[in-house]
Every structure is written in C-alpha cells, then in structure tokens.
C-alpha cells in the first residue's frame, strides 16, 4: 500500500491549505496546549506532533452486540492493532478498551464530538433496538438510539461494524423481540460503510481503517454499501475446494471419506455460493484457515438476514408454512404430482363427460372412413 500511498495532510498542512498562516498554527497549538493543561514549553512539542502525527479520531459505540467485532479487530495482523490505535488513529471512545468508566468515559466522548465536529469517524458495533422506544439498550441512562443520533450528528462518516450494525444479526432474527435495527435504517444523512460478517475478518476491519487513513478517502462501496475491496467476491468464487465442486465431488455427511479428502461442502449446507466475503482469499487470523478449510460449510455470516436463511446444514432455506423439513423440492414434487394426478383424473373424467361429443366426432370420422377407399 505504501508505494501508492497518497500522503495524507498533517494537521499543519491542512491548516496551511485552508488559508491560515504559520503564525495561526502556532497560536492554535498554544491554545491546544492550554486546553490540555500543558506548560508553555510543551507548545513546541505539540506543534511537532501535529506536524507529523495526525491521528484520525474515532468514536466506537457498542449497542446490541457480543463484542466479537472488537475481538476480531484486535486480532488483526497487518497492521497490528497496537500500531493502529497508538500511531494511526485516536480511539477516543470504546467501552471495550478505554481506561475511563462512567461519566469520565462519556466526557471523553463528548470532548471528541465537540473538538472534532465533522471530522471524526463514528464506528458502530451492534444494532439499535427500536422496540418500546429503544429501552432494550441503554448506556449512561440514554437509549442507544439517542446515543447514536448524538454521535452521528457530528461524524464525518459511519462505519457499521459486523452484521449487527450492518444488518441486525442474531438479535434481529425472527421474531426479533427487541426490534433490532441496523444503522443505515436509522441514520440516512451520512456516508455509511457497511462491513458485514459475524464478525468481519480482523484484517478486513483494519483494512477499512487503513484505507481511510492511507488514501484519505472512504473506500469504494458496492450497491449494498460494502467496500468492494473486501466484498466483491463470493466465498465460492475464491474457495480452494472449488475444483471439487466443479468435479461434482461432495461431502455427503461430516467426517465421511469425502470430508477427509477435503471435498466440496455444498451438500452439507455450504452457503459459499451465495455469500460475499473475503474468507477464501484473505482467510482468517493471518491466513491460517477459514470455515471451509476446517471442514464446516460457510453459513453466510456476512449476508443480510443470514440467520433466517438457514437451516445451516441445508443448502436452501426451508419454505415457511409447510411444516418440518419442507424444502422447495419436496413442496414442488408434491405439487407437480398433484397436478399430474389432476391431469390424469381430468383425462378419465373427460372420456366420460365428453363421451357424446367425442362419439359424434368418432362416428362422423367413421362415416368419412367409409367414403375413402
């Protein structure tokens, strides 16, 4: 990436670009120093810091989630997470890692919202419950909805981490008891990057952030708001078991001969053919493996609504309303059988009901028969 990297403006450069003088910059740093309670001798230091190390402020919210997105994020191998949070961004608020609790934590968030209005990135992990006016998720006495609206107002862009924030995930699966709702259905006036996956791959999460920092802009998104760089391909289209698929060599049941040979998992429910993610190419945890490589089918964890696209071990979704085990083929076969039966019944009934009419034709036909030699 570094070879093509368009160097991002430092704070110094951006201030100069915006028409301020060097003196303004020094004044600004002096103000900053006072604000932070440093002695005047620190002004020069801060000036150097701002000249050299601009760090993108990030507020990372947690709503209805399981924190596995944060966990996945800290697993990233390139760059490693310490480098991201110490050198590349300023992670000013995150319930998982921040030192401060309670009102100190909320104050840290508020400070970033005020100081970097329009500049910070809002990262959201988790869905927002919309049922019962949002009381199913409250933080510091406010609902997630209120918290989201406040934090989104001054954000430059929003990253919806994981399937929770980008499509509702497990809590939004039927019957969605809390009205769990993804971010883009609530905030509609900000650029939103959806990074689905349950969780997304750590390197993908880091990649999204690195993209913003290294290229100075949001990554290009597909029709569904996902960064193309990571979600343009189906798992199936980069799966190393694909030759077995094309050869028609399938695992029929777990741990059978085919399973031991690493054949294709299509028939034990693999949703790789309908799932857009980087699992086949980037793989997991620094390329060690991914679900399919470890013998379990993909269950489509980066697709909208995937919990209701199950069962996990069936390739196609069951058709609702037809009792247990009603897949499309069973319903279809029954329906086709019924129709064929009806046709046969109709054929028999018509030989009786239309007997007279038909007999007339046969008789006249016989007449003609007699007239020909």
């Amino acid at each position: 990436m570094s070879t093509t990297e368009k160097k991002q403006d430092t704070y110094y450069e951006s201030i100069i670009k915006n028409g301020f003088s060097r003196r303004d910059f020094i004044k600004f740093t002096a103000f900053m120093a006072a604000y932070l309670g440093y002695e005047t001798s620190a002004v020069a230091q801060i000036a150097t810091a701002l000249k050299t190390t601009p760090r993108l402020p990030i507020i990372w919210e947690h709503y209805q989630e399981c924190t596995c997105c944060s966990e996945s994020f800290i697993r990233t191998n390139h760059p490693i997470v310490a480098d991201i949070i110490l050198d590349k961004v300023s992670l000013d608020y995150t319930l998982t890692l921040m030192a401060a609790s309670g009102h100190q934590a909320e104050a840290a968030k508020k400070a970033t919202m005020d100081k970097y209005k329009g500049e910070y990135i809002l990262a959201v992990e988790g869905s927002v419950p919309m049922g019962e006016d949002g009381i199913y998720c409250c933080i510091a006495g406010k609902t997630a909805l209120q918290q989201l609206q406040e934090a989104a107002a001054g954000a430059k862009a929003i990253i919806a981490w994981g399937s929770c924030a980008s499509s509702g995930c497990v809590q939004s699966a039927k019957p969605n008891p809390t009205g769990a709702t993804p971010i883009h259905k609530i905030i509609t006036d900000k650029p939103i990057i959806r990074v689905p996956g349950c969780p997304p791959i750590g390197e993908v999460m880091a990649g999204v952030i690195v993209h913003v920092i290294a290229f100075g802009k949001l990554p290009e998104l597909d029709r569904q708001g996902r960064p193309k760089a990571f979600y343009a391909k189906r798992v199936h289209d980069s799966c190393y078991r694909r030759p077995y698929f094309d050869a028609g060599l399938f695992v029929e049941e777990f741990d059978d001969e085919s399973a031991k040979k690493g054949h294709c998992l299509y028939k034990v429910g693999c949703k790789g053919p309908v799932t857009y993610n980087s699992c086949g190419s980037i793989k997991w945890n620094n390329g060690v493996s991914y679900p399919i490589q470890s013998g379990h089918g993909c269950f489509g964890c980066s697709e909208d609504n995937f919990w209701d696209n199950g069962p996990i071990y069936e390739r196609l979704t069951n058709v609702p309303g037809f009792g247990i085990e009603a897949n499309a083929d069973k319903v279809g076969m029954v329906a086709a059988g019924v129709v064929a039966g009806a046709a046969a019944g109709h054929a028999i009934a018509s030989t009786m009901s239309k007997r007279k009419e038909h007999k007339g034709r046969v008789d006249s036909g016989k007449d003609i028969e007699k007239q020909v030699d």
Binding site: L249, Y276, V339
Partner: protein, 238 residues
Amino acid sequence: MTTISHEYKRVFVWEVPVRIFHWVNFIAIIALIATGILIGNPPALMSGAEATNQYWFGINRFIHFAAGYIFTLNLVYRVFWSFMGNKYANWKVFFPFSKKRRKNMSHVLKSDILLQNLKNSSFSNISVGHNAVASFSYLIFFILILLQIATGFALYADNATWWFPKLFAWVIPLFGGDALVRLMHHIIMWFVIIFSIVHIYLVMYHDWLEGRGEVSSMFGGFKFVRKERVDIKKELND
C-alpha cells in the same frame, strides 16, 4: 343458421418462426430443468477420484448457462416476432381481456376444463389460434420466465465479463442477497414444471377432444377449421 357439417378446411396458424421458437424453447427448458435439478441436488458420486480427472458438475453448469442464454435470446426473438407475425402470433393475443376473449375464456373453462356439456355450443367458441385460457397461461408463463431469467442472470452476473448479465445485478440487493434470489430461482423452476405438465396435457386433450390436429400444428403449422366458419367469414366479407 348453417347446419354443421363435418367438413374441415386446413388453416395455416403457426408460422415457421413461431414453431422454431416453440421447439427451441422446449429443448432449452428441458435442458435447464435437467441441469438445474442437478445443480440443486447433485447426486452422490462417492468416488476416490481426484478433481483433476473430472469436471462433470462444471460442464453441467456450463450447459445450464448456455441453455439459459439460448432460452433468453429465443424469447427475445419471439417478442420481436409478435410484432411481425400473423394474427395468431401477435402480442395482442396474449392479453385475452377483451369482451369476446373473456367470453371465450369462460367457455373454455366451463366446457373444456370443468367438463360441462354446454347446450348452445357454437363453433365460434372454438379458437383458431390460442384459446383464451391458453393465451392467458402463456402470459403467466412469460412473467415466470422473465423472473427466472432475471434471477438466473443476477446470480450469473458476478462471474460474467459481458455487460448483458450485469444488467440484472440490481436484482440481488432488491431481494437482500444471493440466498433468497437462488431460492426464488429454484422455486420458479417448479412453477415452470407445473406449467409444462398442464400445458402438454391440455394440448393433447384438445387434440383428442376436437380432432383438429392440435399437436401436429406445432410441427406443420396447420390446424383445421370447420368449413362453415370459413363460409360465414366469406359471407360477411362479401
């Protein structure tokens, strides 16, 4: 009122392009159903073979996609012909909603489908081209296969390099993802199968009941109409 004779005249109904369309359509659909069912439920080949030596599932899918293209182009060709061909091929016949066609529909339903023996049956109720029920079923069929084409090409689009399949890429987000689109594609197949069963049965049934060469018409293009029918038309025109 003319007395009903048992004399028939030969009438040219299905022009060559219609017949070509029909049989290309027939073959493509059979191929699509056969390969589609295999895609949906590949049989167990518990062989010790390595993938290097086999490619049957890939070939199967290739046939499916190739047949899908042929099927789609054939349909485009038929739409084109519905503006060029004779009155039995015209697009208007697929919209049997005029008063006369609605009457015909109720007749066909009562007499042919529900097997009532109608008192004052008149040969004007016997259609020359499609009867109203048949043409209505073709309208439904047309909508079904448009959906099938849209879902099929939408699934195909991501691997395609050509612009045509990409025209359908919007279908995926519309239904929230590949999974549902694939399921729809699979389910629509069953509707196509059911249509085919009913259609083939009714074609043969009408052939049996009316004895006007219904089945062979799709090969040779001719059907038979009562002499009187031609005479009346002549009278009217005279």
